[in-house]
């Protein structure tokens, strides 16, 4: 620690803190442009000047570390003059077009100009002209306003990892440029608009739409992936203008999926009024009529319910209450990506916070396309690699992560048992075997060298294992996860709150789902099978879209054609076509509610936007339906009551709602100590493994309803079916039309190639003709 004096006040800060950071920590205002807490120091704007006693000239505080007994002054006459001069320089080429600039009212340059600048410039020479850039669908530019702070350049390099922005030329000709025509190749592009301290980089979709002072800000949680980032929804009246990163949130950035999904709030795909199908046509009606029709379809019937995990905790609890009150024969399922319904040794959710993962001695990603799935966590891991820390990736598709961790292995899903077995052997060799391991090993004859990377990483004191979708969706997932659990135990990672066991969930609220539905859930596959066999009279989809998402679209399509459907949700989407009744539920921007993210952090959204139609919070819809279906007593008539009921399933919640748990508290993930599944030893039927490829721009009903994300999805699209070129060559095939055969039939489809994917794997996007392929786990290829 270092003690120094800022404006005569004694402060103590960690050694090597910069003066600027020391000032920020102690609430002393020092103006700055180029400094950004998440980026490396560039020290090029010179706005942050301070005086240090005994130094001949002012110092840039952002790049000057504190020293013992240093006496810093931030408010002197000299500094006033200096800052005025710096402002004059920065404004030399600035167009002063605040009245037509979207940054106006929310602009550092404007604020500092008023605070520190001169009221008049002396520069009369012609100003420079610059050309605007095309930076893709999300960022619009007005480069004459740029003050060359290089925040955007550092962002592209350090955060996005693409490094495709830079400073060209010098002196008066200096300008910011990007390398690739048409776009930034980043899923974090939207952050640039917030990052730029002036109006040079602006949010394209919301440009010229509103002024900052017209907007209301609502703290909310993004539900577009399990990360559940803290966001601020900005609205004018009922209209959502944009979604921004919440500066008080846990992470430093948000991704483009979470930011531009707001386009869906106002899309035609929103369910805003109740509707019933009459003579084949969906017609708007009032709530009573829709509920009556729903009752006819559901009351005393055998029903299957598939819901989306991303409702609020209260919404999810209300589904359970509906089930318990009037539908306790119903089959309930929610995970569209889980084939193996046996309990997992460690269930979904992270045992560590993302910051803890970033700081761990070793991090291993097992089978996850993390950049698409959890872009903000991937960003942290990228920073980890940049700081020289280890990262190991094993999986079928290690491409497009924008970082090269060095320890990489490409494997097929069918190799997982052999990978884990190889790691077990290595632990045995150093005397860390166990009888349970022997039983597991007995079932797996093969060994795969990639297991060495896993075993090596596990030797570290703190190792974060991130188990991804390639394992979670595996037919033998429970056995694989048991194997990983055994490995971790043997390597000394005993069970504890933050023991490194991190199973990446499909959506939000994983811990809640385990607690509330653990005893009644079934698999989506099983549920659909029962429906196909005629064992169900009706299906109720609550925000779930099994046609567009997950592994069961083929069965879902058949079932929807034959079974009556009650659709409850905020988005109609392609499910609407099959719905007999639609009950509109409020969007996550429109509700008061609680969300739990993958780390178990709890966020309560309490200042929602108003509904724009007749949609109601899910819990109200569910309670109304409970009543309609004949419950004598409605289980909960207020949010408070609902929260009490939720606490029956999760006792800790009582304290959370009473405000007794701090903001740092995280809900633990579920463990199943007795889940000792051994590998099945069953080999896939065909030569190639199918891996379903996730796209952050296309997956999820919300994303599909957002025109902005659709546009980006098209821009970044890869061929729908991808294999390694060697795989094609070995089969004597060429890139182009091929016949893809699976257990459920044959299709002819274009097959593209990429070198950075595992050989022997068929990567399929969840759309178009290839969309249903992910239902199967193996396939073969031949020429047309």
């Amino acid at each position: 620690m270092t003690t120094l004096y800022i404006d005569d006040k004694e402060v103590t800060v960690p050694a090597n803190t910069s003066i600027l950071e020391a000032c920020r920590m102690h609430g002393v205002d020092v103006p700055y442009f180029c400094y950004h807490p998440e980026l490396k120091v560039a020290a090029n704007c010179r706005m942050c000047l301070v005086e240090v006693e005994g130094w001949p000239k002012p110092a840039a505080s952002c790049c000057t570390p504190v020293a013992e007994d240093m006496r810093v002054r931030t408010q002197t006459e000299t500094l006033k003059k200096d800052r005025k001069m710096v402002m004059e320089y920065l404004l030399i080429h600035h167009p002063l077009d605040c009245p037509v600039c979207d940054q106006g009212g929310d602009c550092k340059l404007q604020d500092y100009s008023v605070e520190h600048g001169a009221s008049q410039g002396r520069y009369v020479e012609p100003k420079r002209r610059t050309e605007d850039k095309n930076l893709g669908p999300f960022i619009t530019t007005c480069m004459t306003r740029c003050i060359h702070c290089t925040r955007c350049v550092r962002f592209a390099e350090e955060v996005a990892g693409t490094g495709d922005m830079g400073v060209l030329n010098r002196g008066d000709h200096m300008r910011i440029d990007s390398i690739v025509e048409d776009t930034l190749r980043s899923e974090l592009a939207g952050n640039l608009a917030e990052l730029c301290p002036v109006g040079a980089l602006l949010d394209k979709p919301s440009n010229d739409v509103s002024r900052p002072w017209e907007l209301e800000r609502h703290h909310s949680t993004c539900i577009q992936c399990p990360h559940g980032c803290d966001v601020i929804i900005e609205s004018r009246g009922d209209e959502v203008i944009r979604i921004k990163h919440d500066p008080e949130g846990a992470e430093a950035w948000i991704c483009d999926r979470g930011r531009y999904v707001y386009d869906a709030f106002r899309s035609d795909d929103r369910l805003l009024v109740p509707a019933v199908r009459k003579q084949g046509e969906l017609l708007a009606c009032d709530w009573n009529e829709a509920l009556t029709r729903a009752r006819e379809l559901l009351k005393d019937k055998k029903v299957g319910i598939i819901f989306s995990p991303s409702w609020s905790l209260e919404g999810l609890t209300s589904i359970r209450l509906l089930h318990d009150a009037v539908m306790n024969e119903a089959k309930v399922a929610f995970d569209l990506h889980r084939r193996d319904m046996r309990p997992f040794a460690f269930e979904e959710g992270l045992s560590m916070s993302t910051a803890e993962i970033e700081a761990a001695d070793e991090v291993v990603i097992l089978g996850s396309d993390l950049r698409q799935r959890l872009p903000i966590l991937m960003q942290r891991l990228r920073r980890r690699v940049a700081n020289g820390k280890a990262l190991t990736r094993i999986g079928a598709m290690n491409y497009r992560t924008n970082t090269s961790p060095g320890k990489d292995a490409l494997i097929r899903p069918r190799d997982w048992p052999a990978v884990i077995a190889r790691a077990m052997e290595q632990l045995k060799d150093v005397g860390k075997g166990s009888p349970a391991m022997e039983a597991w090993l007995e079932r797996v004859p093969a060994r795969h060298e990639a297991g060495k990377l896993l075993a090596d990483a596990l030797m570290a004191e703190r190792c974060a294992v991130l188990v991804g979708e390639e394992i979670r969706a595996h037919e033998d997932a429970a056995a694989l996860i048991h194997g990983i659990d055994l490995l971790m135990r043997s390597a000394g990672h005993g069970e504890a709150g933050d023991d490194g066991r991190n199973l990446i969930p499909e959506g939000m609220n994983a811990q809640v789902l385990s607690a509330v539905f653990g005893d009644i859930r079934t698999g989506v596959g099983e549920l659909l099978q029962a429906a196909e066999a005629g064992e169900l009279d009706a299906l109720m989809l609550v925000g779930s879209d099994p046609l567009g998402d997950g592994l069961f679209s083929m069965q879902a399509r058949r079932v929807l054609r034959q079974v009556p459907l009650v659709q409850v949700g905020a988005i109609g989407g392609q499910i609407a076509e099959f719905a007999d009744v639609q009950l509109p539920a409020a969007a996550y921007s429109e509700i008061e509610g609680t969300f739990v993210n993958m780390e178990g952090r709890v966020r309560i959204a309490d200042k929602p936007l108003r509904s724009i139609g007749e949609e109601r919070p899910l819990w109200k819809v569910m309670m109304r339906l409970t009543q309609e279906l004949g419950a004598d007593d409605v289980p909960a008539v207020s949010l408070d009551e609902l929260r009490q009921k939720a606490a029956v399933f999760m006792p800790e919640l009582a304290d959370v709602f009473a405000g007794k748990k701090g903001a740092e508290w995280r809900m633990p993930t579920a463990r199943n100590r007795n889940a000792r599944c051994l590998p099945s030893g069953v080999e896939p039927a065909m030569a190639l493994d199918i891996v379903s490829r996730f796209s952050m721009y296309r997956e999820g009903a919300w994303a599909r309803a957002s025109g902005l994300l659709r546009e980006a999805g098209q821009l970044f699209a890869l061929p729908d079916v991808l294999v390694h070129p060697h795989t094609l060559r070995q089969l004597g095939l060429e890139e182009g039309e091929c016949v893809i055969r699976t257990a459920s039939g044959e299709i002819t489809h274009h097959v593209g190639t990429r070198e950075d994917v595992a050989e022997g794997v068929l990567f399929v996007a969840k759309r178009g003709g290839a969309g249903d392929l992910s239902t199967e786990t193996s396939a073969s290829l031949r020429g047309v």
Partner: protein, 175 residues
């Protein structure tokens, strides 16, 4: 003109074995490969004549930096050229010393004689005229650098002679 490029559409180029050897030596002099960026760019410019985007990409790949970092350096230093030049690059210094000794008139004369503007290349691809900052030889102002050779106290006649000589040499095919 926008400098944005489609990197996937670029024609691939490469260094030959000898150059790669030279680069290895250059890289060995510094703690990080990227520190050798300037000398390697000079080498590349000598070999390829100028530094189009695919050559910059080659340098980036060779030194394991990204293309943007190479471009930043290339555009910062005026001695690196992103556009092709004529066989004879005539660089006229127009800084104070040379200007006082008639560099601007000389420059104008050259342009008139060659029928091009500053920065342009003659249609036969022989001459490019550019204006540069101080060449560091003010004692001999005005200074014109022809490829790697300095010419001092250059007059219009002197310049005409230089151009004529170059032409003659080209016609004789002796170059």
């Amino acid at each position: 003109m926008s400098m944005q490029v489609d990197t996937t559409q670029m024609e691939k180029v490469s260094f030959n074995a000898e150059q790669l050897e030279e680069i290895r030596e250059l890289v060995a002099r510094y703690p990080h490969p990227r520190s050798a960026l300037l000398p390697v760019l000079h080498l590349a410019q000598q070999h390829f004549g100028y530094l189009p985007m695919n050559v910059q990409q080659l340098v980036a790949d060779t030194l394991d930096v990204n293309l943007m970092q190479v471009r930043e350096v290339v555009t910062f230093y005026t001695m690196f050229r992103e556009q092709p030049t004529g066989k004879y690059l005539l660089e006229v210094c127009t800084n104070a010393g040379c200007m006082l000794n008639g560099a601007c008139e000389l420059l104008e004369h050259m342009c008139r004689t060659l029928g091009i503007r500053v920065g342009e290349t003659t249609p036969d691809g022989l001459f490019t005229v550019t204006e540069v900052e101080c060449a560091g030889a003010c004692g001999g102002a005005p200074v014109v650098q022809v490829n790697n050779v300095y010419h001092e106290k250059v007059t219009a006649e002197h310049m005409d002679q230089l151009i004529a000589d170059a032409r003659a040499q080209e016609d004789g095919g002796v170059a």
